[in-house]
Amino acid sequence: MESTTNLQSAAGQRVRRKSLAAAWSAAGKHKYLYALLLPGIVWYFIFRYLPMYGVIIAFKDYNFSKGIWGSPWVGLKHFEFLFRNQDFFLIVRNTLLINLYELIFAFPVPVILALLLNEMKNVLFKRSIQTVIYFPHFLSWVVFGGIVIQLLSPNEGLVNNVLRYFGMEPVFFMSKSEYFRPIVVISSILKESGWGAIIYLAALSSIDPEQYEAATIDGANRWHKLAYITLPGISNTVVIMMILKVGYLLDVGFEQIYILYNPSVYDVGDVLSTYIYRIGLQSAQFSVTAAIGLFQSVIGFFLIWSTNRLAKKFSEVSLW
């Protein structure tokens, strides 16, 4: 009995040694390809995987001189601190609300734009519109936010000039809490909706034109075609984009908020990422903010996972 297992393991070792040798010779055969691969792999290790390992400082009292590994373990102390902290709930609420408004008001706009563009048969007109509505995507948030702030400026902005023209009092839009979220959502719509339509236009262009021809022969009108061909044709893409969006419910565009907010609207505008930046990097509370970051990614992953399951259940579309 023993001798046979010995024999087997010896054979196993021989096979393993053989496959290892084969792997080495394959590696040698492709050595130039592996050489091309190596710099990228190393980059991913240093700038993407090491920071993931760095997340353990959320369970430590991080101290610069002792480094990530040398700092003492403190278990869940920082998480307990967060969950007892009033500020933390305010910031989670702000993050969720801004994203929820974007989901309700901004998410449908690119879909509608793509559907409208798809109805236009005049190529020149369609292209000109596309050129204009893609453009703001290529401006930075400093530039676009700067434009928004100038437009809403109480003394010099276009919006207040128009209000004054109609005999109304100028409004200090940027320093009023009640206007902050609408400004964020509307500026996102203006900057990114046109660009967001591209993905739906791609989905629309992959619908077989024969379907429309057949429907025309069957006497379908414009609405019939929209309801029975076009919408089903892009519904998969819409569901996938929705899943992605829900997955990022705890992740609001950092640059946009950073540019648009100011201390007088922190109560409604401070979101997780801006809070992490202010508390973590400006006040050097590394461990607490790493804990927030970890909380954010765990919840985000759970959200993606669960919406994906829901999507699978109801529409047979999913990310995986």
Partner: protein, 286 residues
């Protein structure tokens, strides 16, 4: 027939309205930059310039910090473009060779990073550990690879007919020679698309400059702009009179907004041609 026509008119009108809404803000900034600041403050400016002049542009070109920041951003964009393309093209090419042992494992290795990341603080600590902080490389290396771009480029390389590679191998070319002499020239449209995206990214980025650099020598254009436009306007809003006295005139602020986006405006027509096709390949196959 008449019903169909009127529907098209409505759709066209809606699209034109949206286009005007997206373009109007930018147009207003251009107007303000060439108008007389005093007339604007009196609420005179609507849809055409009032008191046309180019003084603001003259003043900005006399500003040493503006010129320096412009140069820093140009440097960062050129270096960033070179490093990004080098790293992304090489890894994408190797991963596009379906016969490469371990390919699938390496793909998973890079795709995992799209779902999980360390977050701002741990990433900052690692970048600090590499000693890049407060060098121009801090603006180039930590963002050198975008997984999305790698997937896009890989798709392009995969679509190049394999017979080209086989015949080159018969002639004794090695993989690096094949990559440089055959695949790079054939993928030029894809490389242009990605290259322009990367260049625009580097031109516009400012959060990494906020986080990874402190010295005035490395102040990128977008940071200069933030200090000039956003901070000043916010100070005025908060009623900070000491800052108010330093608030530059609206025409100078808007002129710098316009100048900072001028390079984007200049390359935009060229990007236009490439990106729709590029995005679609990524959308369908990625």
């Amino acid at each position: 027939m008449s019903v169909k026509l009127s529907a098209n008119v409505w759709i066209g009108a809606l699209l034109v309205m949206f286009a005007i809404l997206t373009f109007l803000p930018f147009y207003y900034v251009m107007l303000a930059s060439v108008s007389d600041s005093n007339l604007i403050r009196e609420g005179e400016l609507m849809l055409w310039p009032k008191g046309f002049n180019l003084k603001a542009y003259g003043l900005i070109f006399d500003n040493a910090q503006f010129l320096h920041s412009f140069a820093v951003t140009v440097t960062r964009t050129v270096l960033g473009l070179a490093v990004n393309l080098l790293l992304q093209l090489t890894i994408a090419y190797a991963l596009s060779r379906t016969y490469l042992p371990g390919r699938k494992m390496f793909m998973i290795y890079i795709i995992i990073t799209m779902m999980f990341n360390g977050g701002i603080v741990p990433t900052f600590l690692i970048v600090k550990g590499t000693g890049l902080i407060d060098t121009i490389w801090a603006l180039v290396i930590p963002s050198a690879i975008s997984t999305w771009n790698v997937i896009l480029l890989r798709t392009f390389f995969e679509n190049v007919p394999s017979s080209l590679e086989e015949s080159a191998k018969m002639d004794g070319a090695n993989d690096i020679a094949i990559f440089i002499k055959i695949f790079l020239p054939l993928s030029l449209p894809a490389i242009m698309t990605i290259g322009l995206f990367v260049a625009v990214h580097h031109w516009n980025a400012f959060m990494d400059a906020v986080i990874y650099t402190n010295s005035a020598d490395l102040k990128v254009l977008q940071l200069f702009l933030r200090d000039m436009v956003i901070k000043m306007e916010m100070a005025a809003l908060m009623g900070d009179m000491s800052a108010m006295s330093e608030v530059s005139s609206l025409s100078i602020r808007t002129a710098s907004i316009f100048l900072a986006s001028l390079p984007i405006l200049a390359v935009y027509p060229f990007i236009q041609r490439f990106f729709v096709k590029g995005m679609m390949v990524g959308a369908v196959k990625g």
